[in-house]
Symmetry: C2
Subunit: 385 residues, 2 copies
């Protein structure tokens, strides 16, 4: 069935970002919903958005990355309780990519953790109400913590010239900001946290606005500073993030996916003495071994148009052995690339598979991830730290 073009209504049940008016002014044509908030997902041409990102830079409204703020005397202990990643080496001023797991070892979210002070943390969320999870866990934890959603709304400035734009906004100070570190900054009176993180594997920054009333002004200041460098308004690029093998919550993983299946075992420390939720279940998964695994696949045939709207079945000899979770055509690689969750016996590099798209069956092959090698592109970094 052809996907209809459907008009989308705005109501108060879903929140608008502090950049909403700015993104409309700058050409946002299509929105989705994430963490109960509208997110612009189309400025006219997804391929152009990709080229803007990899050739110059894009500014994206990612205010939907809501923050869960955890403070109080037991904040550090509590945050460790929430994630299987070993946080003992996470310094004040550092960021970490972490998984939040439930008692069954399933992934509830994959946020960036920001440590603003000894006992002051933010979890910069993917799309699920970790505020409720954290408040629920706190109820009987015996730990003294406060948990809230502060007035914080990030922008992503990503792409090879993003460093130049940041220098023109913040001066040379920005050059000392290391990958996956953060700094408190002020721009023309606007209170910010700036981190060298993003969702593109390009050189990039996230700019966390700490006063929603300044959203429009902040957006315009950055666009103005970016003008000489070719900055374009944009959105997170599915093409670029799939090239990098980066995951999208709900699409590529959910509460029924464990970290090992995602190839994210490095984010689990079973030797950790401290308690964390899901430890017993994750130990059992580690002992048992994998029955399925996420792989990169190349899909044959004509360039895909847009992304997959369904989880396409992955077949071997006509039998379903998995599903495609995210697929797109990469104009740079001139290839259809996808992430798929596949039964373990069909995950060896070079394995031939079939993929049933909504239109037809296509041949596919298991390939290495990431699809695009960042070593050929010195401004990129391969992994989320």
């Amino acid at each position: 069935m052809k996907e209809p073009s459907i008009t989308f209504g705005f109501g108060t049940q879903i929140r608008k970002s502090p950049y909403f008016d700015a993104t409309i002014r700058w050409g946002a044509k299509d929105f989705s919903v994430y963490n109960h908030m509208y997110i612009p997902r189309d400025f006219g041409d997804a391929e152009q958005n990709f080229w803007n990102l990899v050739n110059t830079a894009t500014l994206s409204d990612v205010a939907v990355e809501r923050q869960v703020e955890i403070t109080g005397p037991d904040a550090a202990t509590f945050v460790q309780l929430l994630t299987p990643r070993n946080l003992s080496q996470c310094a004040v001023g550092q960021c970490k990519y972490v998984l939040i797991t439930n008692a069954q070892g399933g992934v509830l979210n994959d946020p960036i953790l920001l440590r603003l002070a000894e006992n002051h943390f933010w979890l910069s969320l993917a799309d699920s109400d970790i505020l409720l999870w954290a408040q629920g866990v706190a109820i009987n934890s015996g730990l003294d913590v406060s948990i809230c959603e502060p007035d914080v709304s990030p922008l992503q400035l990503q792409g090879p010239v993003s460093g130049d734009i940041m220098r023109s906004l913040f001066g040379e100070r920005i050059e000392t900001l290391r990958y996956y570190w953060l700094e408190e900054m002020v721009l023309e009176g606007i209170p910010l946290i700036v981190s060298r993180t993003g969702w593109s594997t390009e050189l990039g920054y996230e700019i966390y606005l700490r006063d929603g009333s300044c959203g429009d002004r902040l957006w315009e200041l950055i666009m103005e500073a970016g003008k000489p460098f070719g900055l374009a308004p944009g959105h997170t690029s599915s093409i670029r993030r799939i090239e990098a093998g980066m995951l999208s919550y709900h699409a590529d993983m959910d509460a029924y996916t464990n970290p090992y299946e995602l190839g994210l075992g490095r984010l689990v420390d079973l030797e950790l003495e401290a308690e964390f939720i899901g430890k017993a279940a994750l130990k059992a998964f580690a002992l048992k071994g994998l029955s399925r695994k996420q792989v990169g696949i190349q899909i044959g045939g004509e360039p895909l148009i847009g992304s997959n709207n369904e989880f396409w079945p992955v077949l071997v000899n006509g039998e379903q052995v998995g599903k495609v979770t995210s697929a797109t055509y990469s104009p740079r690689l001139k290839s259809n690339i996808a992430l798929a969750m596949v039964a373990i016996e069909h995950t060896v590099i070079g394995t031939a598979l079939d993929v049933a798209t909504h239109r037809e069956q296509r041949p596919a092959t298991v390939v290495e991830k990431p699809f695009y090698d960042p070593k050929k592109n010195p401004s990129s970094s391969a992994a989320k730290l």
Copy 2:
């Protein structure tokens, strides 16, 4: 600023309901997102949808009302822990409208609770991840419970002829189903729970499909049975629910709203011996009294077009004293009606206020809720039980 007509993309990050294809076939033109799932919100004309609902009946895809299933030896104790409503009189087979509150007494959700068996409950949710909240609360609760989201997707059949349609589907058995009770039923092999509940205050039923693969068939069976009675495909009606003073989560309340401010003190039992989350905070609210309250208001001027897209400020002598949370034009009452959260000193019936819509300032008056009196309409019931 004029709200743009914006096209909306479908991806795998947001789920499709088991009725998605059916609703597209039957004319769905506009979707929103609720509990990480698409919900149809427009079949062409919101006013026609309202008249269909109050004159005959509408069938609505409300699969977005995801269920949190709580089972296990301590399920009843655990469910009571989640809500300030006294559940000691909730029999097996009964439904209750409940609030879920956090430790601060704020409302996290306002689901329908269904008691399927002594220790088998569903919470039929408004838009927030109570699955995460409940799983989080369970972690150190010491209670033996299992909590999951089952494969359950409700439809709402609402309107004065809905009883006739249900009789033609299920026979005379349906006549004994009382308001806010449920029964297990099977329709041509499709496993269901049927309850006499809804979000319209009209005579109505919710039909909980327990096997997502049968969604298309169930939808067609009901539409076919409804044909002689004038059943129309539709969506929940903002006009009808505002007429009834029924609340929409995130719009009319959130985690920073307490039950008393919403006039829902009847859903809080501070005398309850059993523990529930938020008891201390709610006691403090009850002692302190209200600083603001939700009221019904009538707004003057021309008929409003659609609903409010912003929280419109409520003013007295040019000073903001509150906000309009939900507003619409009722073609039956020939009046603009709205729910507003207003400082307590301006909530007496008859108080004159001003409302700043996105276009202009309009006069408004505090009036009684509900706006439409169900006593004049014998098929309706005024309150959620």
